[in-house]
Symmetry: C2
């Protein structure tokens, strides 16, 4: 087959949301850009993560909200319709067809190469395409946005048992009668909720004493309790020792700490959601002096450290610095602006020594990363947890109020429960972080994100009046709890 | 009957939410405080406005949300249950019993006098109580928080037809078969929505060419169209010429501009929602040199202008400066702090020349008043409309995006539609105002309020990352529309 070489200003590896955004942003100043993608253009988030998972969760959420309001509850006469939920999910996953995303790339003037890409030296990428090998030469920059891949724990029999990862769980076509989930992180608790809604008997195996350990402890405890309320069998301190699959499904063997007899959990399917790692194992990193399989460590301009010449950048999960689509897209905007500033018209080719919070500095990655978990209750947080703030040496005071302390929360639902917390830097009197737990708090988070990013002082926040009667009036309760 | 005199540091007239907050805040530094209330402690908002109206609206909103999501819709087999809606509303109106509010005042160390209060001279208030006249002498300050009252237009036959005001509409016990509403403001459109949900045939008579004229034009147009979708007969350019009531209900005569024949609208009940005026007609204002019936004009410390001695303050609707509970409570917090600062321990008794955005200056009243309308779609805005910003002489650029431009909005509901707009000061590059129109945008507003109040520059807002996939991602679309 033919050996071809093409040269672009910028070569982007990975056409997920993050790669697409980096390509778009870099290309806007006239740089020529190509993206390489081995799977579907649109990436994990579009087909096997955010979109389909939220599509699976939303029907149960709106029914729960309606069931929780007197005067509406009697009109809700059943649960979700699994077939209709899956059909709607199919639409949000674009039926796993990337035609519209390919068209978007074309419209943005970005070339697409399909195939697996490997670095073969500085600024050089080789792509194994259907037509043979293609070499892409980057005049200025290579941006790696290949994301992450699930990690399967080293558990006897696991691979042979053909477990689900988040891909199979979000793309399911036949809802199993029962599902055992290994891992109490975001994927674990969201899928536990979704499959409980879809009618599966769900067992959630959690290693520690609570779910969502990245969040404030009260958030994880609330979600764990709520899962039990949804009928999920939540097992804390679970230590799987082996997995087998037989004609009836999957069996997970559990060791009980301090308990001589083991335990067996049986289900039709097993979802492993114990973590992800940067997808750098087969990227040719060794050809540029980097360690295959490791995260691509970057500075705040998203330039990979330890590589000479200022040509290698990385964004998204592959950096180990962010784990969410939105924060990856933020980094993508920054790297796009960095590449355009350095290599576009009038660019110097070198770092510009930009200050924090400038357009070419991803400062928010350290100070204000938002995270939303679409469980019931929802959990949303931004910035530092109390523990992280203390570890970072900030002078901290934490205030916490019940969501129901706002009249609007009680109006929203008869059994509405939840908690909101602010972590305040007592010296500068600005917010370091905020956590919301409760129904439909996802849309309340951005107020906190703006307050954290804007470093709006508490004294000024007193002038930001929440409308009555909205749930947002918890802001007033939080300020009162902090004191003036 | 006995004539009694009692002396307090601060006398507050009106124990609505605004008066309660002013009393509480002033009393916290040890000043003695009394509040006088002729009706229920808790005021309009608790019994005949915000609380009951939102209680009437919420059941329909959650059912509409559930009907709008494939996979959930089939489980919704009817509309709201009017009896259950009214029962829930009764609970949120505390069954029109102010016992808990009275207990709250007592717990806060605030005395309560029930009766109608009139000023009888500087610092002196006479209250007609059940036990005779009581004179209250204020050592330092009188704070007027008597709110507002509905204005009935001068329409032949209107008074004899015994129309509803917002009180009867929110406190209804028997839903009429049909309702004609005069006025397309907040009360008019919210009650049109609520009564359509409750099964009444609703006709909405609007004077101009759209509803919600205080909001951006696109917001009013969207709500007007949506009301038609709910089955409301919306008549624009309506000019009522007379009202009659007979055994079958109420008839409103309409003149049609450029139409020789008049028109008659018949309904079981008529709700007049054409506006409110400050409740100052019977307050004894003439005894302190003020015009009865006029708004009590105040400065940013909420001190009434044109009265010597610095003892008279006013907050809430009675000032003509605010029309909402939340903004009235904001002013109440400010006046409480002003009174405490001037007359509490160490106070000078005189204005302290505080800067804008200080604790004793109600700056937000000019820059950042939020308003939420709980229609379907909801409308929420803060700060200046585009027109108001232009009139005020700001260098303005307005950007507008469709709510559906955020993937999260489409996930939230299959037919979600709406618009979000920012009004930007192009010189300082800060937000002057924001308007949200769409389902459940009420909780999205506070982000804009914090951005406006915090004067967070656009360049910094780019670092405030909205979580994916939430509807809040419209913030990203707005920033993209504005450009970097």
């Amino acid at each position: 087959m033919a050996q071809q070489t093409r040269t672009y200003d910028v070569v982007v590896l990975g056409a997920g949301a993050v790669g697409e955004n980096a390509a778009d942003r870099a290309g806007r100043t006239g740089l020529s850009v190509v993206v390489v993608e081995a799977e579907l253009v649109g990436g994990e988030c579009s087909y096997w993560a955010c979109m389909p998972s939220k599509a699976l969760l939303r029907p149960g959420a709106v029914l729960a909200a309606a069931r929780g309001v007197g005067g509406a509850a009697q009109a809700v006469t059943g649960g979700v319709d699994p077939a209709a939920v899956l059909a709607r999910r199919d639409a949000f996953a674009s039926h796993w067809d990337d035609g519209s995303q390919v068209a978007w790339l074309a419209g943005a003037g970005i070339d697409l190469v399909r195939g697996h890409a490997r670095l073969v030296g500085p600024r050089r990428v080789e792509v194994a395409t259907g037509d043979g090998a293609l070499t892409l030469v980057a005049r200025h920059a290579v941006v790696v946005a290949t994301g992450s891949e699930p990690v399967l724990p080293d558990l006897p029999g696991l691979a042979q048992a053909v477990p689900w990862t988040s891909r199979e769980a979000t793309a399911v076509h036949d809802v199993p009668g029962s599902l055992v989930i290994l891992g109490g992180g975001v994927v674990g608790v969201e899928m536990a909720t979704a499959y409980a809604d879809l009618g599966a008997a769900v067992t959630l195996l959690v290693r520690g004493d609570r779910v969502l350990t990245a969040a404030e402890p009260f958030a994880g405890r609330a979600v764990g309790e709520a899962l039990v309320g949804l009928g999920v069998d939540v097992r804390y301190g679970a230590r799987p020792t082996g997995v087998t699959r037989d004609a009836d499904g999957v069996v997970v063997e559990l060791a009980r700490v301090g308990d001589a007899a083991g335990e067996r959990v049986r289900a039709d399917e097993l979802l492993v959601a114990t973590g992800r790692r940067p997808a750098t194992g087969d990227l040719g990193l060794a050809t540029v002096g980097l360690e295959p399989g490791s995260a691509l460590v970057v500075d705040d301009a998203l330039q990979v450290t330890g590589v000479d010449g200022g040509w290698l950048f990385a964004v998204g999960d592959v950096t180990g610095r962010t784990t969410t689509t939105h924060q990856g897209k933020y980094d993508a905007r920054v790297v796009g602006d960095v590449v355009a500033a350095r290599f576009g018209p009038g660019g110097s080719g070198a770092p510009d020594g930009a200050a924090p919070w400038s357009a070419t500095t991803a400062t928010a990655d350290h100070a204000a990363v938002p995270q939303v978990v679409f469980t019931r209750p929802e959990v949303a947080w931004v910035g530092l947890t109390e523990a992280a703030a203390l570890v970072a040496g900030h002078p901290v005071r934490t205030v916490q109020v019940a969501l129901r302390s706002a009249a609007g929360a009680a109006l929203a639902g008869d059994d509405v429960d939840g908690t909101v917390q602010l972590v305040v830097d007592t010296e500068r009197e600005v917010l370091l972080g905020a956590t919301f737990v409760g129904p439909e708090v996802a849309e309340m988070l951005h107020a906190a994100t703006i307050a954290v990013v804007g470093q709006v002082p508490i004294a000024r926040l007193w002038h930001a009046v929440p409308a009555y009667p909205t749930t947002s009036e918890v802001w007033l309760r939080l300020l009162e709890a902090y004191g003036r």
